[in-house]
Symmetry: C2
Subunit: 110 residues, 2 copies
DNA sequence: TCTCAAAATAGAAATAGCGCTATCTTTTTG
DNA sequence: CAAAAAGATAGCGCTATTTCTATTTTGAGA
């Protein structure tokens, strides 16, 4: 019963998936996008157009669009097209929960 | 009362700090290091030498050392030197809590 | 149809991150 | 003292990200 081969059963697939997801969230602009959407998912407004996001976050439309694409590809956000505009929301409850957790940890009492 | 200038008061400093922290965590090897340390902080073993981590995570000593440095610089881990060895632990309770949250979200029922 | 606005995309340049080998410091041991 | 072991660090080539400008696509309205 030596310690050869008693590694903890961490599922590498889970870890890779989590790392990809966290990486997608770990950019200041993307995190701010998530804060805007997450905060308002709680308060009531759950639809944000790209233009809304551009105004709230503050950078070029092109830049926002690319960051939104990254978040969309990773299933962190989902989009709905309505006529001329595209609206974005947090993809599911798990993501919303994660965003709330992060705000507690990073924006709480520090 | 138009919507000009009703941006939500997100503290950009908080967001930047959070993004840097998340970025440091969002690499498969670093996340695995955190899982190893976090899991054992719960179970009782709270001291892991670099060699222990190398064995558990599975890559070169040099590579682990560099990733540990990144986690240390961001105050996610702290280290204690005892004679020949250096032991690593999760820096504080907030980080431990965050790691637990992530495991719930990513390794829960999926 | 013509034009405008919303959103996405392409291409390019700069920067950052990764992992490797080799080297260096510090401590233990013979 | 010499050799070995534990960690940390430096330098290098490579790949991935980021952000910018310019362009394209799609739908709305005069």
């Amino acid at each position: 019963m030596e310690d050869q081969d008693n590694h903890i059963p961490f599922n590498d697939a889970d870890i890779d998936r989590a790392a990809r997801c966290l990486k997608a969230m770990s950019h200041p602009l993307r995190l701010k996008i998530l804060c805007v959407l997450g905060n308002n998912s709680i308060l009531g407004k759950d639809q944000f157009s790209v233009q809304d996001i551009v105004k709230q976050v503050g950078t070029s439309q092109s830049n926002i669009s690319q960051h939104l694409a990254i978040l969309r590809e990773k299933d962190i956000l989902k989009s709905t097209k309505e006529a001329n505009q595209v609206f974005y929301t947090i993809h599911d409850d798990r993501m919303l929960q994660l965003i709330k957790m992060m705000r507690e940890v990073f924006c709480g009492n520090c």
